[in-house]
Each structure stands twice: as structure tokens, then as C-alpha cells.
């Protein structure tokens, strides 16, 4: 995907400034309707989810005390995986967004919540709520675009290192919680120079993360295994697997939110002086939904309603489903693409993009079984050759694109 502003078929070209502001007003009205009707049922919902999650976790951990018996291991691990997913997605992520602050319950509040994650809530809130949600899909500003380690857009220059990005992405998926912690710390940037490494602010934040990781690891890999006595090793394995499952799942869901093919990205300068309507528009086109059952929505923390979530990050997650048709009606009326597909489709699409962009622009599209040997040879040249070779390739690609456009 090329940044929207550079596209020849700009999907918002048909909208006037007045249209954009009208879209903003309508979305504001939808938001207000939900705010005005938040009430006891919503409060009961989140309390119920928390109640179920905690009991499921307790029960699963109790079963795991006998984890050397295979059925107990399987049931306990499955239960713990689900509990950890619920805790991170429908509960933690959404509470930390302030979706439930209106209840004024200090026990279910964004300022007091801590979650079962390597990244401390406070740091995550900053990088996620303040940066990602503000700069959604702005290249160079939104680190969520590839978590700073991947090429997720044609506009990012291709270098041979990106050939390995499918592998990075998979490793990141397996250890996602640590990836997020590293990303919240801006580890890459902060480790780069001596000065940054020694910045007391960075050091304090790093210390906070290490402390959190230590506590988390002690719980999952020492205390609970030890409590299981003779089942020490199976319980340790169960915790590891549950964390892995949770990581893979949340990584997949989050990839589906912004990575599928067709989701728009933006140039850095494009958001200067952005109006509320324009901000809404960016969120509308920069997010993708997952369709599916009610259970699936709950397990994704309702991030399956990523479009609605990005428009209204602080509305209670249980209400996204109800406003989705109204939001979609606005997309339809203004001729915008409401991006939604099933989970397997979105995951496949996101991975397709990861693979495609791990290769030089246009390479994947141009490759057919017949010309494969020639293409591979060219890729080899691009990989082993210097920047000059790659620039020449880029120029040729652009010329081709312009020709196609002219025709």
C-alpha cells in the first residue's frame, strides 16, 4: 500500500471538505448516543467478564496442580490460555483505554489497572493510547506499523534485511508480549546511542519493565510449577504454552487490525492541522474489522471491531457491535471501503503483505512460474548488489507504473 496521498486512485478524492466534516459530525453523534446510554447493563457486563475470567484462571491453575496427568494438562492449559487471552484483550486492553472509567470504580479503572503482560500498564498506555491511537497508520510516527522492525509499506525503502521479515514477524508473534514491552520502551532507538542508553528516564523505564517481567516469570515459571510439586515440569510447560497461545492470538488479532491488504497508510505531513473530520477519516480507512461469532468478538477484546474501536477508543467494547451497522452506513453513503473479512482471510491477507513487502516493490506481482528463475536471479542481484542497483530497480518500477497509468 502506498501512502494514501500518493495514490493515483485516492479513495477519498471524491469527498469535499464539507463531506468530511459531516462525517465527523455524524460519528460524534453516534458516540454521544452511546455515552448517554451507558448504564447498569454495561457495568454488569464488564464485571461478569472479569468474574468469569478470574474463576476460569483459578480453576485452570487448580487443575494444573495435577498436570502430570495428560487430561489435566490439556484442560488446564486450554483454560489458562483462554483466561490469559480474556485478561489481555477484553479486559486489560479495554480498561487501560479508559473504556470503563465512567463507572468510577477504582478497581476497574485505567489509572489503577495492571495486566498480565510484560509491558507495565503505564508505559503501554503511553505508547498505545497516546501514540498509536493518535498517529494511526502515519508512516514514521505510528510505531505500530511494523513495530519499528518491519517494512509494511511500499514507501519504506527496501533493503535485503527485510527478506527475513516473515521470520521476524513469526518470532515477534511467539514472544509478542516482550515485543510490545521492547516497543513501548522504544528499545531500538534508545539503545542506539550512548547518550540515550544512559538517559535516566530510559533507565528507570527499563528497570520497571525488567521488574514486571521478573514478577510475571516468577509467577508462571516458578511459583505455580512449585505449587504443583511433582507436576512441576508439566505445569511450567502449561504456562509456557498458555503464554504462547495468548501471544500468537493477540498478535494475529492486532495484525488484522491494521495490516491487511487495502488498509490505508498516511504521510507524516498529511496530519498537520488535521481537523476532527479528517482524523475520523484516517481512522476509518486505516483499520480493518474481523467478522465472526459473538464468542470470537469477545476473545479478540472486540478488536474485531477495529474500525469502531479506532473511531471511539474509549467507548465500552461491548457496545461496538451495536454501533457497527450505523458506522458502516456512513461508509456506504460516502462511498468508502469498510474493510471487513473473516479471521482466516484477514490473517492470510496480513501475512501476504508481510511476505510481499519483504521483497522489493513489484517483485511478487511480477513473478509467475514461467519467469521465476529470472526473477530469483534478479532478487539475488538486488540482495547482493549495492544501493545503486536497488535505486535503478526502483526507478524502473516507477517508470513502469507511470506508463501503466498513462495507458
Amino acid at each position: 500500500m502506498t501512502a494514501l496521498q500518493k495514490k493515483s486512485d485516492n479513495p477519498v478524492a471524491h469527498l469535499s471538505a464539507a463531506d468530511v466534516e459531516e462525517i465527523g459530525r455524524r460519528l460524534d453523534a453516534i458516540r454521544q448516543e452511546v455515552v448517554d446510554s451507558r448504564g447498569a447493563d454495561d457495568a454488569a457486563y464488564i464485571r461478569k467478564v472479569i468474574d468469569v475470567q478470574r474463576k476460569l484462571e483459578l480453576a485452570s491453575r487448580a487443575v494444573l496442580l495435577l498436570s502430570k496427568f495428560p487430561p489435566a494438562w490439556i484442560i488446564g492449559t486450554a483454560g489458562l490460555s483462554v483466561a490469559k487471552i480474556l485478561e489481555n484483550m477484553e479486559i486489560g486492553h479495554n480498561i487501560l483505554h479508559g473504556q470503563w472509567d465512567w463507572m468510577r470504580d477504582p478497581k476497574i479503572h485505567s489509572t489503577t489497572w495492571e495486566w498480565d503482560m510484560a509491558s507495565p500498564a503505564e508505559q503501554w498506555k503511553h505508547s498505545h493510547n497516546e501514540l498509536h491511537h493518535t498517529y494511526t497508520n502515519v508512516i514514521g510516527k505510528d510505531n505500530d506499523l511494523g513495530y519499528g522492525i518491519m517494512r509494511v509499506d511500499e514507501d519504506q525503502k527496501w533493503i535485503p534485511l527485510y527478506l527475513a521479515q516473515p521470520l521476524w514477524n513469526f518470532v515477534n508473534a511467539c514472544f509478542f508480549e516482550y515485543g510490545i514491552a521492547a516497543y513501548d520502551l522504544e528499545l531500538g532507538k534508545n539503545l542506539a546511542t550512548e547518550e540515550r542508553r544512559n538517559d535516566p528516564k530510559f533507565k528507570a523505564a527499563a528497570k520497571q519493565v525488567l521488574k514486571k517481567i521478573r514478577k510475571q516469570a516468577t509467577k508462571d515459571y516458578l511459583v505455580h510449577p512449585a505449587l504443583s510439586g511433582p507436576s512441576f515440569v508439566p505445569t511450567l510447560a502449561a504456562n509456557f504454552v498458555a503464554n504462547l497461545v495468548r501471544n500468537l492470538w493477540s498478535h494475529s488479532v492486532i495484525m488484522c487490525g491494521h495490516f491487511p491488504e487495502g488498509v490505508e497508510t498516511y504521510e507524516k505531513t498529511s496530519i498537520d492541522g488535521e481537523t476532527r473530520g479528517e482524523w475520523y477519516l484516517r481512522q476509518m480507512l486505516g483499520s480493518a474489522n474481523i467478522s465472526g461469532s459473538k464468542a470470537m468478538h469477545v476473545m479478540t477484546g472486540n478488536l474485531s471491531h477495529q474500525v469502531e474501536h479506532h473511531l471511539f477508543p474509549d467507548l465500552p467494547s461491548n457496545r461496538y457491535a451495536e454501533i457497527a451497522p450505523k458506522v458502516k452506513a456512513i461508509f456506504d453513503e460516502y462511498g468508502l471501503r469498510y474493510h471487513t473479512a473473516s479471521l482466516p482471510k484477514q490473517v492470510a491477507s496480513a501475512w501476504h503483505k508481510v511476505f510481499r513487502l519483504s521483497l522489493p516493490n513489484g517483485w511478487m506481482a511480477a513473478t509467475t512460474p514461467a519467469n521465476a528463475p529470472k526473477q530469483v536471479a534478479q532478487l539475488y542481484k538486488l540482495t547482493t548488489g549495492g544501493p545503486k542497483v536497488r535505486r535503478a530497480y526502483d526507478r524502473a518500477q516507477r517508470a513502469q507504473a507511470e506508463q501503466a497509468l498513462a495507458a
Binding site: A40, R54, M103, R104, D105, T111, E114, T218, K219, H224
Partner: protein, 357 residues
């Protein structure tokens, strides 16, 4: 012995905490035993009883951490109204001797009142509510007065009822002058009349629909020896104000104790944007709304207590800006670095403010 005992207990606590991190053991225990000792103080509503058409007695079984109250004191309850936690103060009315570990309060529904209407009409027995320990100075002295006078109106009878139920026998000479619109509106009417009939209390009922509002001069007629009495008064602001004036004029101001249910709002002023530095929230607040209410309305968790300027449970540092005390119009101004402590429940913004919270 004790030190190793403690050490062991500490170690066990730490182990359990290590097993539940990032939550605390109590987050799990609360699922099963919200009233256990060591938990945040909560109470379970066990019964509700109508006293009048719009007033109910709510019987509450407090959690194990409950400490006894002194009759006349109030508690704060936190109830979820339309999903939103609201805290209000209510006087404890129960008889300590007669009850089985429960306490009671009596709530009168106020037109448009959020919490009082919820408690009177919606709150169901079985509900667990949040509680705070009893507090307040509106109590009888250890040395019981030889002659006591109680002047109450409307729901203002509640703290006095708490005193009468527990201590009437220790008061050799007690008079109660109570105002309510009609005889049916008298909260605890039957019980009070029975006490009067038994000769333990002199009861003067005023029905304002017929008799009009009570004036201090009439009170002096009804209770000619009020100079000799210690007086407890609780009711609407107008009544309390006129009593205070009268007692001061008579030079017996030190013989009058009053309990107010809400602040007397005198001034409303400018308003402004209030910023909470720690949460990074800014709330537009008008000059009539206490900062506390405006912040809660915006979803912030604020410390609070009586919500009417007496307990200082709501105090926060004002880092910069100006606030006005809505009871008397007094302006408090803070320059950067001052961190002046202000009571948020009776302070409204008087221009842009920056609060340390």
C-alpha cells in the same frame, strides 16, 4: 516467637502475592467473600422498610472490618447508580443493642436526587454496597446533659433517631421538636409517638403544611427553658441558619450543635477549565459545580468524604489557578509551586485551574 511467627506469615503472604501478580490475592478473594475481614469495607443490604411514602430504612450487614459507630454519626455508602459509583453520607439510625450485627440508615428520596431515589426505589436486598467507617461529631457527650433539646425537620430526624434509640434512657429530660409537611410525612412517626406516649420523650410535632415553617421565636415559646438545654439540630439549611442566629443572639451559641446534610451555596461564579496533571485530563467546569462533581462526571476517581465541606476527605493541592468556596464566595488563589490544599467538594473553578491529581 512472635517475630518468627510474623516472618512466616509475611513469607506466606509474599508467596501468595507472587502467585497472583499483577493482581492481589484480595482481587480473587473478593469474588467469593466480599465481606471478609481484611477486605475493603463493604456491606450487604439485608432488608428495606418503608418509613413514609418516600423514605426507607435500609438494613445493612457490614463486613467484618466494621468498627462500632457512635449514635449520631454518619457513614458513607457507595452505590452503583446506572452503573456509576456514587458516594453519599447517611446517618446511622439503628439501635446498637437490639440488632444482630446489622446497622441501618434511613434515606429520603429528594426530587431528582440520584442516589436517594436509587436507594429508595431500586436498591434490592442482597446487593453488596461500598461502605466507609462511621464518623462525625454530632453525638452526645459522655457526660449526658441533664436537659436536652432536639430540633429536626424532614430527614434531619435520622441522626437524632440514632441517639434516641440508643440513649434515650440516659437522658432524664429530652424534648424533640420535629417539623414535617404532614403527619404522614413524619419519618419514624409511630415510633416517636410511642416514645412520647410512654413518657420518656416530650414530642412536639409541627406539620408545616398547616403550621408553616418553624421560627426560632416560636421555638422559644414551645420550649421556654431552651437556655438551660444543650440543643442538637438537623434539617434544611434555612432552619439551621435561623437557629444559629437566634442562639448567637441569646449568647448561648456554645449550647447548639448542628448537623448539615448539604452545603449552603451562597455564590456561584466564573468557572473555567480544570486540569488534573497526573491523569492529563481537562474538565470544563462551571462556577456553580464543585470541582469534585465535575471531575467525577468526567470519569475521574476522586477522593471524597461528606461532600459538603466538613470532613476534608476530598482535599487536593491546587497547583495553579483560582477556586471559589461556593459556601461563602471566598477566593483561593495558587501560584505555581504553591500547592494550596483545597476542598474540592465545596470549591468551584474561578478561572483555569491546575489540580495535583
Amino acid at each position: 516467637m512472635t517475630s518468627t511467627g510474623l516472618g512466616l506469615r509475611d513469607r506466606v503472604t509474599r508467596l501468595v502475592e507472587a502467585a497472583t501478580t499483577p493482581l492481589l490475592p484480595r482481587d480473587y478473594l473478593d469474588l467469593f467473600a466480599p465481606l471478609r475481614s481484611g477486605a475493603d469495607l463493604r456491606g450487604k443490604v439485608v432488608a428495606k422498610r418503608h418509613e413514609t411514602a418516600d423514605a426507607v430504612t435500609v438494613v445493612i450487614r457490614p463486613g467484618r472490618g466494621w468498627r462500632e459507630h457512635v449514635p449520631g454519626q454518619y457513614i458513607r455508602i457507595g452505590v452503583d447508580v446506572d452503573g456509576v459509583r456514587q458516594w453519599r453520607a447517611y446517618s446511622v439510625t439503628s439501635d446498637r443493642a437490639a440488632t444482630d450485627g446489622t446497622i441501618s440508615i434511613c434515606v429520603k428520596a429528594i426530587p431528582d436526587g440520584k442516589v436517594s431515589n436509587h436507594v429508595v426505589r431500586e436498591l434490592r436486598p442482597g446487593t453488596v454496597i461500598q461502605l466507609d467507617q462511621a464518623t462525625g461529631e454530632f453525638t452526645l457527650p459522655a457526660q449526658r446533659p441533664a436537659k436536652a433539646l432536639f430540633v429536626t425537620a424532614g430527614s434531619g430526624i435520622t441522626p437524632v433517631m440514632g441517639m434516641l434509640r440508643n440513649h434515650l434512657d440516659e437522658l432524664p429530660d429530652a424534648v424533640l421538636v420535629h417539623s414535617a409537611p404532614t403527619a404522614q410525612d413524619v419519618v419514624f412517626g409511630d415510633e416517636l409517638r410511642a416514645l412520647a406516649a410512654s413518657g420518656r420523650l416530650r414530642l412536639v410535632e409541627r406539620h408545616t403544611e398547616r403550621d408553616g415553617f418553624l421560627k426560632p421565636a416560636e421555638l422559644a415559646e414551645l420550649v421556654p427553658d431552651l437556655h438551660e438545654r444543650t440543643t442538637w439540630a438537623c434539617g434544611p439549611a434555612g432552619l439551621l441558619e435561623s437557629l444559629e442566629e437566634h442562639w448567637a443572639a441569646e449568647g448561648i451559641a456554645d449550647q447548639l450543635l448542628i448537623e448539615q446534610f448539604r452545603p449552603r451555596v451562597l455564590v456561584t461564579g466564573e468557572g473555567g477549565a480544570v486540569t488534573y496533571n497526573k491523569t492529563g485530563t481537562t474538565v470544563e467546569s462551571d462556577g456553580a459545580t464543585p470541582i469534585l462533581d465535575a471531575a467525577e462526571e468526567a470519569g475521574l476517581i476522586m477522593p471524597s468524604g461528606c461532600r459538603m465541606g466538613i470532613c476534608y476527605g476530598c482535599v487536593l493541592p491546587l497547583r495553579e489557578g483560582a477556586v471559589r468556596d461556593i459556601r461563602n464566595g471566598e477566593l483561593t488563589v495558587a501560584a505555581p509551586g504553591d500547592g494550596v490544599l483545597v476542598q474540592t467538594c465545596i470549591s468551584a473553578a474561578a478561572g483555569a485551574c491546575d489540580i495535583d491529581h
